[in-house]
Subunit: 272 residues, 2 copies
């Protein structure tokens, strides 16, 4: 399981200010801190970017890759900003992301082919509603993969995000347990070892005590890992959660266990 | 998932001394501490008990139940000590446990019927060897259940322990991932929602840094929980592990999530 930092967000006051002032310093400091905290990839979430979206995403990507070689997730709903980010990127970039929403199928999905980039596909309905259960998620996954094939993109470029539900939702627990089952079933359903990603911060969105939120992250992450999750998008400054991710990798490694080796390799699900 | 303390062990110097001196104080103090730390059941491990096994187990049970109403696991390989413990017990007791070992089938299994007690069955071969993989464990489970039926005991009294492997074993990781799959498959295989227990302290038996050992416990426990484990036997003074168990219950509860409700109900596996 690869750990992806979700900290580089324009909604972060410091990052937002730095982007507005076109000042790379605070952005680069954040990138270095994320890497030091164990990030193996960085998600760059530029938000809605109402003004100059292309310029701002390009600036973010440029600033980050001047100080870090980590692969970047170009995270915005604005296709022009994605394209600007991909053009600026000189290393590995992943598009985050598309869904069955017609506008995204039309203008974001083709960028994966054009730039030969991996792309994250959300298990959401065309109107962005969350499927009601695991079966509906699997059916959306089949449809998503169908669009992928129609677009002529290599299946290995698809990374599926089952969309973790906030536990504050009335059916949040149910949804999140369904997601474990979905992660287990996806490879057999689609007929290849499709990659998966989940946003752990979603779990505890909303009001709630910080300590218990982190406790829930630490409990849910190993469940996701054992279900075969490949990439965990999370707050990289939740150091204990990052350590738990590392422990999961150690436990799931096919090499003999050694305490010294804290980083493990990516593994398939073990109990599906 | 119910949390069972494995701390009441005769190998604990204080407990060993108290038993030898027939002094209930330190035993009762330990029982109260375990309960305060969140134990929902207490395992009373009297070890081999070379001298006066019956008297010593009876003394342990008597001492504990004078200060605690928690259900007790009568944990010894000595059938006479088990029987003495069960006779002394006035509350709920669980026999821990039997296996396909002929002596245990003959002298421990029948005690479950005689005393109308739940009994833990280990997925081990008759010579106490650990099965090589998940498939072998499942086949042992079928045989174990067969012996159970032959003995005329209510299936609901069976609690299966898949036997967590120390990660220090060359194939420890493999075995422990197989166990997740075994936990998922047992209910369907046996045709009823068979209860399960796992000893988490086994995971990190042997040399190793304490902090990393606890980290591995915290990572493996949610995997077990999501696989449907009903009872976790653990060091109840590993407070963070106990909190993670509680968080697992909250995440798997079918009630709407509330941060205040730290204790959840027992749940079936969600992704099997």
């Amino acid at each position: 399981m690869i750990v992806v930092a979700d900290n580089m967000q324009i909604t972060n006051r410091i990052i937002g200010k730095a982007v507005n002032e076109m000042n790379p310093g605070p952005i680069q400091e954040m990138a270095k801190k994320c890497e030091a905290a164990g990030a193996e990839m960085l998600d760059i979430n530029s938000g809605p970017l109402s003004r100059d979206p292309e310029k701002k995403m390009a600036f973010l990507v440029e600033s980050v890759q001047d100080v870090s070689d980590l692969p970047l997730l170009i995270d915005t709903a604005n296709p022009r900003a994605i394209e600007a980010g991909l053009r600026t990127n000189r290393k590995t970039a992943i598009i985050n992301g598309f869904s069955l929403e017609p506008a995204k199928l039309e203008s974001i999905l083709p960028l994966a082919k054009k730039f030969q980039a991996d792309i994250i596909g959300y298990l959401l309905y065309p109107d962005s509603h969350v499927p009601a259960d695991g079966a509906e998620r699997l059916s959306v996954a089949v449809e998503l993969y169908g669009e992928f094939q129609k677009a002529g993109i290599d299946p290995e470029r698809l990374i599926i995000d089952p969309v973790v539900a906030p536990i504050a939702w009335p059916d949040g627990n149910f949804q999140n347990m369904e997601i474990l089952s979905v992660l287990c079933q996806l490879p057999e359903l689609l007929g290849f070892p499709v990659k998966t990603i989940a946003g752990l911060s979603n779990l505890t969105t909303g009001q709630g005590p910080g300590e218990k939120k982190r406790l829930l992250e630490k409990a849910y992450l190993p469940m996701l890992a054992a279900s075969g999750l490949n990439m965990a998008l999370l707050n990289i400054f939740h150091h204990e959660t990052v350590s738990v991710a590392s422990a999961c990798n150690s436990l799931m490694s096919q090499k003999m266990f050694v305490y010294e080796e804290i980083r493990g390799e990516i593994n398939p699900a073990f109990f599906c």
